[in-house]
């Protein structure tokens, strides 16, 4: 049921609009009513999201097959390169988990790509759409939201590719009950990414150096997150191993752990004289990691959106 559009004004009709900055109470109200705002402007959200997604595949021969083909291809690459060619590194894995390292990287990459891409595309989203912001009165938080949602949609295609591969090939066992955590994982990841993009895109309006910094920081961040490496498979006496405790401070570490637990089940590495060993992937630890990541997500959302709301009224003058 679409409600009467005339009951959904952009600003409160008949309310005075003045130069007074938003009060703390009003900012909090904005944070809490984001779902209502999205519901009211769902046509705007869906239209622009569709526009964003279709423009990626417009004019291609395969069209909407691409978002599934891309991750399938990526999955195949990880499987062959890391499992078949370099897979000898983990001779202690049981037979059905031989593809462990390739799948491990694929799942880590799937979660990271959505964040990394949203940061790369989202930081400039307010500035790049300056012409819209200057000429049309619309809720500008829709712009970063779109970037985040587009990333999440593409990520879900990767999940689909993984599930298809797990169900129909012998590479990896199909996900168990832990996959039911997925909606919560995706929601929290969306909240986290949205908070970051809101904050960074606002900062970019006032400080154009932000985009450059974000580019550098995300690269470091990706490398510091166990996406292509397994902390439990690191050399035991390495000085680096002592720093693994710091991983808990990286929100995306918790996120990828949760993702792997939900999709991959359990992978245990036996302790040996070379490696630290332990549960490289654990479905039982998903709630723990989600709890840690959830705190980060809510924090990022509150801070990012509050900063955005306070600065929003000056966007049109600065872009």
């Amino acid at each position: 049921m679409t409600p009467d559009p005339h009951s959904a004004p952009l600003s409160m009709e008949g309310e005075w609009i003045s130069a007074r900055p938003a009060r703390a109470r009003e900012v909090l109200a904005r944070l809490a009513t984001l779902p209502a705002l999205v519901a009211r402007h769902r046509d705007l959200v869906t239209t622009t999201l569709k526009r964003d997604l279709t423009s990626r595949f417009q004019g291609t021969l395969l069209g909407w097959a691409w978002p599934v083909l891309q991750p399938l291809f990526l999955f195949a690459v990880y499987y062959f390169i890391f499992t078949q060619l370099l897979g000898q590194k983990m001779p202690f894995l049981p037979e059905e988990q031989k593809a462990g390292i390739g799948v491990y990287m694929f799942v880590g990459m799937l979660a990271w790509t959505a964040i990394g891409e949203a940061l790369a595309r989202g930081t400039g989203v307010i500035v790049e759409n300056g012409n819209l912001i200057k000429k049309l009165a619309f809720p500008s938080e829709i712009l970063p939201l779109n970037v985040v949602l587009a990333g999440l949609v593409m990520m879900l295609f990767s999940v689909l590719a993984f599930v298809l591969a797990a169900l129909f090939t012998p590479i990896w066992p199909a996900p168990g009950m832990a996959i039911l955590w997925l909606p919560l994982i995706v929601l929290l990841q969306g909240l986290f990414t949205y908070g970051l993009v809101l904050g960074l895109s606002t900062l970019q309006v006032f400080l154009r150096d932000t985009q450059q910094l974000v580019g550098m920081v995300t690269t470091v961040w990706m490398l510091a997150t166990p996406i292509f490496w397994v902390p439990e498979a690191m050399a035991k006496d390495s000085a680096i191993a002592a720093n693994f405790g710091l991983l808990a401070l990286n929100p995306v570490y918790h996120l990828v752990r949760a993702w792997r637990g939900a999709l991959m089940g359990d992978v245990n590495l036996p302790e040996s004289e070379y490696i630290t060993g332990g549960a490289a992937v654990s479905s039982a630890s998903v709630p723990h990691h989600l709890w840690s990541f959830g705190l980060w997500a809510v924090g990022a959302y509150v801070l990012g959106y509050a900063f955005f709301v306070l600065a929003q009224r000056r966007f049109a003058d600065e872009v």
Binding site: E15, T48, R51, A316
Partner: protein
Amino acid sequence: MSTPRYALECEQLGKAYRVYSQPMKRVVETLSLGRYRGHHEFWALRGVNLQLRPGASLGLCGANGAGKSTLLKVLAGTTAPTEGRYRTNGRVASLLELGAGFHMDFTGRANIVLNGVMMGFSKRDLEQKTPEILEFAELGSHIDEPVRTYSSGMGLRLGFAIAAALDPEVLIIDEVFAVGDMYFQKKCVDRIYQFKKRNKTIVFCSHSLYDLRQFCDEAIWLEHGVTRAQGDSVFATNEYAAFQRKHIGSAEEAARSEHPEVPGLGARARHELPRVVDARIYRLGTDEEVYEIQSGDSIEVRVWWENAHPEENPIQVGIAFMRADMTTCGGQATHFQGVKLAGKQGCLVLQAPRLALLSGQFLVPIVLFDGEGVHKYQEYLMPENLLVRAYTRDIGLFRLDLAFTQRELAPPPPRAEQRVASGA
């Protein structure tokens, strides 16, 4: 909350832009938490008060950079005021710039939905209105081509068609008559009139004082962001025109404002729209063409016109005498005198017995209007100016019947208590 009586209301509205000479100054200012001020403020708008009832229309005039567009932007809600406050009652749609909000790579049809949902309308609403928009914009098969390929006129047509079809309570338009061929301008004019009739509120700015006078009940003349004159549209535009004339340096602009240039007629217009074919000046009642006269001579202006569709497009003609400094000294129009121009062509004669203009060069602009005398189809400017010589020593524009005489009279009785004229 009391129900606002006004469609649009502003109190002491002002807008300042912060200007930083270097990006570093902004960082320092932010980090100093208000102790260091790295910017200077530029007030684009200050102290604007206005109240518009539903159905009223407001025009803004003033030179470039006077703050017209800033005021429109603030009222449209795209930029926040720096001081003062405003409120609108009802939905607002705005057309601030050609193709604002258009996605260049998408088709016109896709952009209708995109543009509309941006302004807060539902997709269903827009799909319903698409046929109406298509009909109005007359883009034909172009509607399914990317907007990138559109000409500025086509973009305007689509933008205006969308804004008009959304049927807002308040419509805000920046310089709508600037582009588009005559045919489309006429359509816009008609649409805006319909809009007014349905008790909707329109705010727009224009360099054409004539348009402002015709459309607007009220007008504001802005200069350097401050209201110079406000009130009845005739009053405000006259104040502005008088100011322009005084500052002769801007005579060029005055010329453009009062009688804007007619943009090149579109292909369609050239064949179908009414036009003035020729115009000449003769000595009254004779066939002697004359462009140099003495003050007080009698002349007539003959205008040959054509109108392919007299029933569909009734026309009116206005003729004026304009001094070189752009002062309109006098003029008449057929709709002022109830003259009807019937048929597909004809010759209209304006008789001017004893034309008492004082010496000078005079332009004789001839304006071809639509039936209501609102829309200008064409402004015909004769190649010749009318040169008037005067051998009397009068001052002013006209030779009035003035004469001196002297008499032997006693002084008058003392005056009663003087009343001070107020508000003159």
